[in-house]
């Protein structure tokens, strides 16, 4: 094996890890930590794009850790789906890192913000690239533990309250996930996902047990991805930490959970008409409706966006439930688009709050007159999220709705369109309350302590905006890529052959 082939798949994990180690070495020197973090993140983005290009040209790439052959050792595997998400995640992370230079307070940086973010990136890379079920669990735990640390960093009362809910519910979810993995291991005696997929086809008399195991995964990963009955921890905790933290958690974490669902349900548990499809459809529909109604009823910038995360998760789940190539491609496209757009909206909120000292609509206003550039960034990102034609969200929703109507799932497609309308309503509400309306006169004194506005804050947002615009306006190559990714996902024998070919 060549060094380059070997290294390429590992770089998305190694680069952030090396960055984190160097950051811990320079624990006291904040400036050096910032430089390392920036370089690492740029390197990670570069590696992800390199890997994506490699996978586009040469198909699925695999390596075996430690040289142990496939069903026994741990496989690292990159297909189009994971590479696309990896690239989107790295870009969102890059924007948040640049943003944090100008917004995050010193005590939080001293407490190790950068090393923890780096390790979280490593966890995301690992989750997306691993081909081993238990390894997947470990990587997921790594990134969740980093999220616990990030949410509690700084230790304000509000943060600890949010973190308590977050940690408790996620620990229960991890327990359930472990039970699911144990069930699968007990049935097929392997943890390699490709091997499990082969065995699942060979054991028709165990289909019932596979459905039981799949329910464990739906519940546990569903908690982590915040789908309908299990989402309540998310709006309760995501709005508490500062924006540089909540943006990266909100942008990446739930989507990684959704990645796991899509990966498992395309590879191991096929979504067959009947029980699983019904469960997924009901969950998707209710997630959309509840999330969107929650968002429309809130009066705090971060809370609106937190509920909005929940509603968007519903769309991604809807694609999985419909389970046609177009629907899966729509899901993939939607996850990518959402990682970037949601991060950008959070960052805009942070910039607004930095100047005005609050996230509450009552005390905000007049941003459009004062900061037109910021307003334009918000406007375009919001229109992307709502799915107005030239922008990126439109293509995702279009693909999903079209797939829904084509395969006869009229109810869910209708719900998704209705939820889209309410999305526009709550985004218009933010636009009116924060950007257009004049600032109210009676503002409490403690909010008057504002920081001067730093123009550089707009740099990462412009970076993300460029990507979002490219994703929307030059949609064709991206849609083509997601269609290819969906074909790969639905023809799981490509994945299985790539892993097991060597023996």
């Amino acid at each position: 094996m060549q060094l380059q082939d070997n290294l390429l798949l590992l770089l998305p994990m190694l680069v952030p890890f090396i960055g984190a180690v160097l950051c811990i070495f320079c624990w006291r020197a904040i400036v050096i930590q910032k430089i390392i973090a920036l370089l690492t993140q740029i390197g990670l983005t570069g590696c992800s794009i390199w890997l994506l290009q490699h996978v586009v040209q040469q198909g699925i790439a695999t390596i075996q850790i430690g040289g142990w052959p496939a069903p026994f050792g741990i496989t690292i595997i990159a297909d189009l789906f994971s590479c696309l998400l990896l690239t989107a995640g790295a870009l969102a992370g890059l924007a948040v890192i640049i943003y944090s230079f100008y917004d995050l307070d010193k005590p939080r940086i001293r407490f190790g913000y950068y090393p923890v973010v780096m390790i979280m990136q490593m966890g995301i890379g690992g989750t997306l690239l691993t081909g081993d079920l238990f390894n997947l669990y470990v990587w997921f735990e790594i990134l969740l533990i980093c999220a616990f640390v990030l949410i509690t960093i700084g230790g304000t009362k509000q943060q600890l309250e949010g973190a308590l809910k977050y940690v408790t519910i996620n620990l229960i979810a991890s327990g359930l996930l472990l039970v699911g993995i144990g069930t699968i291991y007990g049935m097929v005696g392997s943890l390699n996902m490709a091997q499990i997929a082969v065995q699942a086809q060979n054991l028709p008399h165990m289909q019932g047990l596979f459905v039981v195991a799949s329910m464990f995964f739906i519940v546990s990963v569903g908690i982590k991805a915040a789908v309908f009955p299990l989402f309540f921890w998310l709006p309760a905790s995501y709005h508490t930490p500062p924006i540089a933290i909540s943006a990266i958690i909100a942008g990446l974490l739930t989507k990684v959970g959704l990645y796991v669902l899509v990966r498992l349900f395309t590879l191991i548990f096929k979504v067959e008409p009947g029980f699983t499809t019904d469960v997924l459809l009901v969950m998707a529909g209710l997630t959309m409706v509840v999330g969107v109604l929650g968002a429309a009823s809130q009066n705090d910038y971060r809370k609106v966006l937190s509920f909005s995360i929940v509603s968007q998760i519903g769309y991604m789940l809807m694609g999985l439930a419909i389970f046609t190539p177009l629907a899966i491609a729509g899901s993939v496209y939607f996850i990518m688009h959402n990682m970037l757009v949601k991060t950008n909206l959070f960052l805009v909120g942070g910039a607004v709050a930095q100047e005005q000292g609050s996230f509450n609509f009552r005390y905000l206003g007049g941003v459009y007159k004062k900061r037109p550039l910021l307003a334009i960034i918000f406007f375009i990102s919001a229109m992307s999220l709502a799915g107005i034609p030239p922008f990126s969200g439109f293509w995702g929703k279009f693909m999903l709705a079209k797939a829904g109507f084509e395969s006869g799932f009229y109810t869910i497609a209708g719900i998704s369109l209705g939820a889209g309308v309410i999305t526009i309503i709550y985004l218009t509400k933010i636009w009116n309350q924060v950007f257009l309306k004049d600032k109210s006169k009676d503002i409490p004194v403690n909010l008057l302590h504002k920081q001067p506005f730093k123009k550089m804050l707009q740099l990462p947002m412009l970076l993300l905006l460029t990507v979002i615009l490219a994703l929307g306006i030059f949609a064709e190559p991206f849609i083509h890529l997601t269609m290819q990714a969906a074909e790969e996902l639905l023809h799981s024998e490509i994945y299985i052959n790539a892993v097991l070919k060597e023996n």
């Binding site: 094996m1 070997n6 190694l14 090396i18 180690v21 811990i24 624990w27 390596i63 075996q64 430690g66």
Partner: protein, 183 residues
């Protein structure tokens, strides 16, 4: 909780625990043991030290590093003085070697914190993973030296990885102990 019996016993057991943890670390290749357990055993005497004397005293007694220099002679050139000092520092690396107190002056002192040790362990493990890549093997493959050392046996990258874990685990547990006893 300052008890004389415990303090005296700890003094006896301190080297014992350290040697036993080394033993467990090296034994771990083919038997129960290894870096994780070894690291935990290494921390036991330190935890007892914290329990008996308190975190502050532990830090001062065990983790305070003092850097000494030689006293400067009259009319000595900068170069000659620094060469003499380098020689002195090198000799200082030999265990149990120390100079008469009147010859040296305290230049600076600092506390070695667990936080400084954590990345050392991480990077050792990382190097153990990356090394085989340059020999054309897969990531984390065990690469073994041809010759075997007495007592330890064959050494390879797996041992390096385990040493990294050993350092990391002991530093992390030490950090947790220190923080909890402070608050």
């Amino acid at each position: 909780m300052k008890t004389i019996i415990l303090a005296a016993a700890l003094r006896l057991f301190f080297p014992l625990f350290i040697f036993f943890s080394f033993y467990i670390l090296i034994r771990g290749h083919n038997h129960p043991g290894g870096g994780f357990i070894g690291g935990l055993i290494l921390v036991i005497p330190f935890i007892f030290h914290v329990l008996i004397h308190g975190a502050k005293e532990t830090q001062e007694k065990l983790f305070l590093k003092r850097v000494y220099s030689l006293r400067r002679k009259e009319q000595e050139s900068d170069l000659g003085y620094s060469i003499r000092n380098i020689g002195y520092r090198l000799r200082g690396l030999i265990p149990w070697y120390s100079r008469q107190d009147k010859d040296r002056v305290l230049v600076k002192q600092y506390v070695i914190e667990p936080l400084h040790i954590i990345p050392v362990g991480l990077s050792l493990s990382l190097i153990a993973g990356i090394l085989p890549l340059f020999l054309g093997e897969a990531f984390l493959t065990g690469v073994w030296a041809k010759a075997a050392l007495p007592l330890i046996g064959k050494i390879g990258t797996t041992l390096l990885f385990d040493i990294g874990v050993y350092i990391l685990v002991s530093a992390v547990v030490l950090k947790i102990t220190m923080e909890m006893s402070k608050s």
